[in-house]
Symmetry: C2
Subunit: 298 residues, 2 copies
């Protein structure tokens, strides 16, 4: 079952203690598409500027991503610059230039409307809602960030009523619900609309909550992290990619989906940009998934 993603395609300049990537391919929709593409066909809706390198367009095409929804506008591509410390946790943003992304008003191409799975990557919840109005997907997965919780809380709350799976990190869950205990925070989030809430805890694994179940997935440790940028969107790509492939949302599939998400994220952080993700094959994903099962099930 094919997946539609609406989000950003960007040029990132990232500095980590292990090196630097300048104007490398980034953006939530980029990481998500490449990750989900290991499991399923993906259609992308995003905007880039006239400066967007053709080599990156070719790269996205070579991954089999449907780019009919990627528009090019006069001006510069969305650019983000950030720096990570040795803890490889939240980066320090050095600059954010929205450029053509500032007026992003996604129109879903008619040929995309058949997509049954929708990923609303982290953008303004008003835009996320506008996208949703143009479609009637079987499953809606949505990401967000602290900025929207602070500045567009009401729009986000309105959107969440129509979302099936809500992805966010631990501090965002606390921020949105004002609950310190993460189980209580998750319960409060489920009351806001989503049937499933997935809480990302970075190197500490992730948690999946439904009305009746909790699933806790451990850390998948890596000896070498090069660049954590895009880990969350790559994780989302693994989750939704696997779910769409199964096309059935039982507890066993949901657990495996979260584990596939974690596996995909481990590849993303092993190099700058999507470099590592585009050198692996599905058999590498399958092998790491098996390793993950071995290291965490008892």
């Amino acid at each position: 079952m094919s997946i539609l993603v609406v989000g950003s395609v960007a040029l990132d300049t990232v500095k980590t203690p292990l090196g630097k990537g300048r104007n490398v391919l980034g953006g939530s929709a980029t990481y998500f598409s490449i990750s989900a593409g290991f499991f399923n066909p993906v259609s992308l809706v995003a905007v880039v500027g006239s400066d967007f390198p053709s080599k990156y367009l070719s790269l996205l095409k070579s991954r089999g991503i449907d780019l009919r929804g990627l528009t090019t506008q006069k001006g510069e591509t969305f650019k983000w610059e950030g720096e990570y410390g040795w803890d490889f946790a939240d980066p320090k943003t050095l600059s954010t230039c929205l450029n053509v992304f500032a007026k992003f008003d996604p129109k879903i191409p008619a040929e995309y409307k058949k997509n049954k799975y929708l990923f609303l990557a982290n953008i303004d919840p008003e835009i996320q809602e506008n996208v949703l109005k143009q479609l009637s997907p079987k499953l809606v997965v949505c990401d967000t960030m602290n900025y929207w919780i602070e500045n567009k809380r009401n729009h986000l709350l309105k959107l969440l009523k129509k979302v099936d799976i809500f992805l966010l990190n631990e501090s965002e869950a606390r921020m949105l619900t004002l609950k310190e205990n993460i189980i209580k925070a998750a319960r409060a989030l489920i009351k806001l609309g989503p049937q499933i809430v997935i809480i990302k805890r970075g190197e500490h694994g992730s948690l999946l909550f439904s009305q009746r179940h909790i699933f806790s997935i451990p850390a998948f440790l890596l000896e070498k992290v090069v660049d954590p940028t895009g880990a969350g969107d790559t994780f989302a790509g693994g989750v939704l990619g696997y779910l769409a492939k199964c096309d059935k949302f039982n507890q066993a599939n949901l657990k495996k989906a979260v584990a596939y998400g974690a596996v995909m994220a481990t590849f993303a952080v092993e190099d700058f940009s999507v470099r590592r993700l585009v050198t692996i094959r599905y058999r590498d994903v399958a092998r790491r998934f098996k390793d993950f099962q071995r290291l965490s099930c008892f």
Copy 2:
């Protein structure tokens, strides 16, 4: 196979956002013994003062713990006072009065020397080594804390050469090895002597490392934490209790042992002191272990 523990029996005064316990039963050897006692007979070596309440002696006896190694000395029992904030992480120590524990010089009773399993709870590594000299156990498990890493580093390093399983938390692992990456830190620890290193990450689960394997156990989330005091020693009790019961250290048993440790710790934190631990039965442990498998294996 019976287990010998050498550590502290204390009176704790603990304040948490959910209440207060004054001069309640505490100490590393207490939590460990009650926890390990669910799986195996336990013999205890510790010292208390003449003020130690007889009701606590009766409680320890009623758990079937062999107290022939518990000596009573003139003076006051070891007292610790601490306070936890809403994050229920590292407590603020308000006072530590070692009292009779200051001159703790454990002599292992002859009838204890048959114990095949030894837990050296968190005390001065010099004392831990003195204990080890009096015995020839099949398996030595050792805990420590930042204070000894800072102040008795060389003694600790000497001790570690004779330890089979080393338990410590994440920051202690980094502190002892000067390595930020936890996999690298664990490898460095294994080079110091222990075959197995177990790294406790509190609410983020735990990690088990051997020469060839890594095992990552996720968080077991609780909606209500009342008092985290003793969680680490209760965890150790579950780990060693289960291992001693199996009396065989293959990978599958080691994984299950860590999971039983996590399960035991969840009970410990549900009330002040050992209150919750002494109200449960083995069937409650078995039930929670099954729940844990369900929530974390995929």
